[in-house]
Each structure stands twice: as structure tokens, then as C-alpha cells.
Symmetry: C2
């Protein structure tokens, strides 16, 4: 039953960048990295079925502990046989710890060394989540990869605040490790914090590495900071992250950052971007974002992206999809979501191919030029 244990295999490092080609083995299957993980916040990737995600080639999805804890409740999911069974998805799942949502979605909260008291965004009811509770919830949900409970400091924040928060996150990580009751089936990742302070980031990364988690994520980024500062922070901590373990950049999923992240040694990404912008009528194409709702596409009988071979681009026109958006039809969100996830999953295929050929920089240049990004 070797396959059922968590393992990261480093296949190769790209010659000219820090990019890595790898493979993650989990109880529910193998993931080729670098990988993009579509987000299924409430035990469903919005507008999609599991079969469609498989057809697209998604190998792992992310689901949110905070949301599932509040509704339908982790005990109910456990009774259903765990999250895989509940939502009819038999490939790997990663759950976050709820930390990020507790801090970003709950207005009324009180942070102590024990954990966080907060009010539900659904009904205002009072709740408490700390490291032990987060593990209890994540163990009940049963994802293949689970995350430590952390504090994601806001941006901007004072050095003193970030330092204290980073130290507490390390203490919480130790308690999470002790609290994970299913370490053989659920790999617990540490989350690196430290805001945009280089010294805190380095100390935090070193101390986290000492805790010997099976994988690490970089948290506290993609919270409103400029892109170059985010990339600097990744470069700073990457030097201190174990090479034999997967590295996950949380909450990042725009095409440019998927490429920039891969170049800097990141193996895993997640973001609500493809499905969120889809529901608003925006799609990703080889030539940049396209707002298909716009009047200019009313009589455009070409596909969303003429270079795309997905189900949507093979069968529907911009004119039709625009009509669906104008008419408020559910199929609009379905088709745009399908295409956008496909676009990012295929982008990761191309990134892995470029790493294999040691041509990631060339690939970046070509992609950026066509997409309309500045180099």
C-alpha cells in the first residue's frame, strides 16, 4: 500500500530557473506538479461537476474548512463518509485550515494564543477555532492534504504585529502537528508567514523547516501587495524551503503568477479566479482576458479562444455565450467556468512541458507577449 502514503518525488529541476518538475502521491491518486488546484469552497467547484473537472484534467481540488465547518458542518460530512464521498470526487483534495477565512470573512473576532473567537458570516452565531479544533475539523473532512491553522496577517501591517503573528503561527503549527489524528492518510502542511518583512520570513521559514512537515505553503501573500513585492517574498523564503517537499503558493492563480511562481520553485497553486471571473462574464484567452458580456461580441460567431480545444470552444460561439449572460442563464456560468479552468489546467501542462525542455523562460516570454502582459 505504498501508493496510499503521501510522498513527493522531485523529477527534475529546470536548468535556468528554480522551477521543478515533480509528482505528489496521495491516497486518492498522483498529482503532476506544478499543478493548479480549482477551488470548491462549499464542497463543489462552482457550476461544475466532478466529471467535468476530470475531463478537463484537474488532478486535485481545494475545499474550505471554514465554510464546511459552518455549513453543512464537519460532523455531517464525516457521517457521509468524508468529503470525497459527500461531494462525489475520488481524486485528491486539499483543505485549508479556515484561518484565512476566520480573519478575512469574520468582522467580529478575538485572537488569543488558544485560537480565534469569531461570529459566523451566515447567522452571526459565535464560534471558536484553534489549532486543535482545526485538526478535528480537517480530520473529519478527510482531505489528502490538510493545512495548519495560521494567522494570515493583513497587508500592510507593522513589523511588531507580523513578528508576533508569525511566532504564534509556529506555535500553532506545533499544536496542529500534535493534533493531526490521521497523519498516515492526511498529510499536514506547514504555512509560512512573515508578511513582507525579509528577516521575519527567513526566521519563520527556518523554524518551520525544523518542524519537518511533509509539505509547506507560503501564506500571507496575494493579500493586496504589489506583484514585485510578492515575487521578492517568494524568492526570499524559497531558499529556506526543503527541496524534497512540495511547495504551495496559496491563493494565487492569475496566468502571469502561475508562470512566475513556477519559475521561483512553486509546485502548487490555488485560486477562485477562473470560476469567479467566469460568473461575471470574463474569460481567459491566449490573447488575454475577454469580457464576453460586452456588446462587441453580440454577433461574434467565433469561439471564446480560437486556440483552445476545450468542450466550450469546440461547440459554442462568443455570440451565444454572450446571449446566455445577458439572459441570466445558468449555462453561461457553466461554459465560462469550464473554459477558464481548462485554460489554467492546460497552462500548467505547458509549464511542465517547458520545464522538461528547460525552456521555461522562453515560454514565459512568448506567453506574456501574446497574452498582453508586460515582461
Amino acid at each position: 500500500m505504498l501508493l496510499s502514503r503521501f510522498r513527493y518525488e522531485l523529477i527534475k529541476e529546470e536548468k535556468h530557473t528554480h522551477a521543478r518538475l515533480g509528482r505528489i502521491y496521495t491516497p486518492h491518486g498522483v498529482i503532476e506538479t506544478p499543478v493548479f488546484m480549482p477551488v470548491g469552497t462549499q464542497a463543489t467547484v462552482k457550476a461544475m461537476t466532478p466529471e467535468e473537472l476530470k475531463e478537463i484534467g484537474a488532478e486535485i481540488i481545494l475545499s474550505n474548512t471554514y465554510h464546511l465547518y459552518l455549513r453543512p458542518g464537519h460532523e455531517l460530512v464525516k457521517k457521509a463518509g468524508g468529503l470525497h464521498s459527500f461531494m462525489h470526487w475520488d481524486r485528491p483534495i486539499l483543505t485549508d485550515s479556515g484561518g484565512y477565512q476566520v480573519f478575512s470573512l469574520s468582522d467580529l473576532r478575538e485572537i488569543t494564543q488558544d485560537g480565534v473567537y469569531f461570529k459566523s458570516y451566515l447567522d452571526g452565531s459565535g464560534h471558536f477555532i484553534g489549532p486543535e479544533k482545526a485538526m478535528e475539523i480537517e480530520n473529519a473532512l478527510g482531505a489528502d492534504i490538510i493545512m495548519c491553522f495560521d494567522e494570515c496577517a493583513p497587508y500592510p501591517a507593522e513589523w511588531e504585529y507580523v513578528k508576533k503573528s508569525s511566532d504564534m503561527t509556529i506555535e500553532w503549527a506545533k499544536r496542529c502537528k500534535a493534533g493531526n489524528s490521521r497523519p498516515d492518510e492526511q498529510a499536514l502542511f506547514g504555512i509560512l508567514q512573515g508578511g513582507l518583512y525579509k528577516d521575519i520570513r527567513i526566521e519563520n521559514a527556518k523554524r518551520m523547516a525544523d518542524l519537518d512537515f511533509p509539505g509547506y505553503s507560503i501564506g500571507g501573500l496575494s493579500v493586496g501587495e504589489p506583484k514585485d513585492l510578492m515575487l521578492d517574498a517568494i524568492e526570499t523564503v524559497e531558499n529556506y524551503m526543503p527541496k524534497n517537499k512540495p511547495r504551495y503558493l496559496m491563493g494565487v492563480g492569475s496566468p502571469d503568477l502561475l508562470i512566475e511562481g513556477a519559475i521561483r520553485g512553486i509546485d502548487m497553486f490555488d485560486c477562485v479566479l477562473p470560476t469567479r471571473i467566469a460568473r461575471n462574464g470574463t474569460v481567459l484567452t491566449s490573447h488575454g482576458k475577454l469580457v464576453v458580456r460586452n456588446a462587441q461580441y453580440a454577433e461574434d460567431f467565433t469561439p471564446l479562444d480560437s486556440e483552445c480545444d476545450c468542450y466550450v470552444c469546440r461547440n459554442y460561439t462568443r455570440a451565444y455565450i454572450r446571449h446566455l449572460f445577458k439572459a441570466g442563464e445558468i449555462l453561461a456560468a457553466r461554459l465560462a467556468s469550464y473554459h477558464n479552468i481548462y485554460f489554467l489546467v492546460k497552462l500548467m501542462d505547458k509549464i511542465r512541458e517547458a520545464i522538461k525542455e528547460d525552456e521555461l523562460i522562453e515560454f514565459k516570454k512568448e506567453f506574456f507577449a501574446k497574452y498582453g502582459y508586460e515582461l
Copy 2:
């Protein structure tokens, strides 16, 4: 190219009822009757893809002329290559004439012998549709079966009003016949009117039969009248409808009325019911309607209908689907719509099987008893 022409084949009549087994040949394929037609008002069956409808076994869908005329416009659909091409559905389509919607959705309207002046429900803009315009629109949309422009009298209505309206509908039917510019590709059906007045119904049906349309529908029912009066009206006109042509009961799709209609010689049905109630969290099951949103299903890990073998019932539980509804997820509407359409399409399969075996009355008794209908 015989297959490309419209033709109705009467295969057999049931021994104990007026039910018929038949086949309709159209340019886009063959339809086994009696048939239920899912409704795709705005060029999409709400929440569904064409592939899913095929997987379910839907052989023909209905789309609404009134809605498509207003948005995206019939000229645009024509430019897209017609409705089949626009919406990516290569099986038969039936379009109504817009008459029903002009009368039911437009508050401000003026009826003359020419046609109807009305204001758009979208933006209040002024429009006119008469028999010739309806044909122009339906010819542009390009459905396999198209309907005459008619006035659907309200219920209740005075004898004098219904008589005048019925006479006008016959005059309009003649003008529609003259106006159909693609009779070889688009079969134009007459619509029988006459409200609940037996004498008007009979005279109307006779005069319509004389006009020799390739098919006929019964209009003006399912507008709020009691069920027994509706069934009486069907029995009244059925005697005067040509046996060698398909008979379509408009706007009817509840399980009991599909069976009662078939018993009375109806070949075609359409209704928004399965998709509309689905979006509100109600599903059809062998044991009657089930409001899956209800709290009692929170921890019910059985399928929507344990006797159903559809994609939804094979893979999801009531508890999960309830969660999706509570969370406002698009997948909720998708799964409930899929199941409900499947339920009605399979019901028609069973009705056809019962006709074949001359056991339709027995089938009705069993179905009604289990579903919870009064006999």
C-alpha cells in the same frame, strides 16, 4: 432525402384507451411518441447542456419565439445559422409562435385583426407581432416544427369573447400557412382554441382540420382551469383531430397529466415544470414530489429517488443536494434539473411501453398509487 421531410407514422392504437404509439420524422431526426419536450425558453434548457439532454434521452426540445425575438433577436439567430447551430443542439426543435407570451407576459397590448401591439417585458419598447411576422421570426429561427400565431383566451372568459378569439385564430392560421416560407423544412402546426366551450371547441377543431396542417396542438388549456375540465376539453376535441397527424397538448407536463393526456390520444407535451421546480429545490420521485431543501433531508444519505438510475441518483445523496441548495450553489439547480427531466423522459418511455402492451390503464393505476395521486 425522404427522412428530411416531416411525416407522422401511427404505429398502433392502444386497445382500451385512445392512446397512440407513433413516430415523427423531422429534418433533425426521429421522435418516438408520446413524447415530453423539455423547454429551452431562451435557447437553452435551463442549467443543462445539449449533451446532458441527449444522455437523458430527450428527442426534441421547445424554444420560445417571443423570448428569442426580443433577445438576442431572430435575425441574429439566423446569422448564426439558425437555432440548432446557435445553441449547439442537432436534434429536433419546436418553436411556439409567441402568441401565448404576448398575451401572458405583456401587460400593455392591443389586439387587432392584424396582430398584437405590445411592450417588451425587457425594456418596455414597442413591438408588433401578427401571423406574418410570427412566420418571419419562426422561419428565421429554423425549428423543425413551428406553431401558428394564435390568441390564447384567458380563463375564465365569456362565450362571446372566446368565440371571436377562436374565429380570429382560424383567420390567423390561414395567414400563417400562407406566410410559412419554408414548409418543406419547417412543419407548421395549427393550434386549436375555444376555451372550455364545447360548441366553440368542436367548430374550431373542424375548421382547423379543414386547413390540413401537418400537425395540431390543443391550446388554451393549462391556464388555471380545474383538471377535470381540461380533460373534458381534450376528449371533446380529440374526436375531431385527424388520426394521421400528431397531437400536441401545450404547456402540460405534470406526471398525472402526461398519463391522462396519453390516454386521451395526445402525442406531444411540453412544460417548464421539471426545470422550474428543480431550481426551487423540488424533485420528482416514484413516490411523489420531494422538497429536497427541507431540513428533514439534512442527513439523508440516500439518492433523490431510490428507484431512479440517472446520473444524479447514482452519484449524489439528498444530504449533499440539500447542502448545495442551502449554499446557493449552481450545481444544485443542475442536479435537480437533470433528475427531473430524466424522470419525465423515463415516464414517457414507460407510457410508450404500456401502450405497446395495451396496459396503459394498469400502468396509470400503479403509477398513481405509488406517486400519491388520487385515482
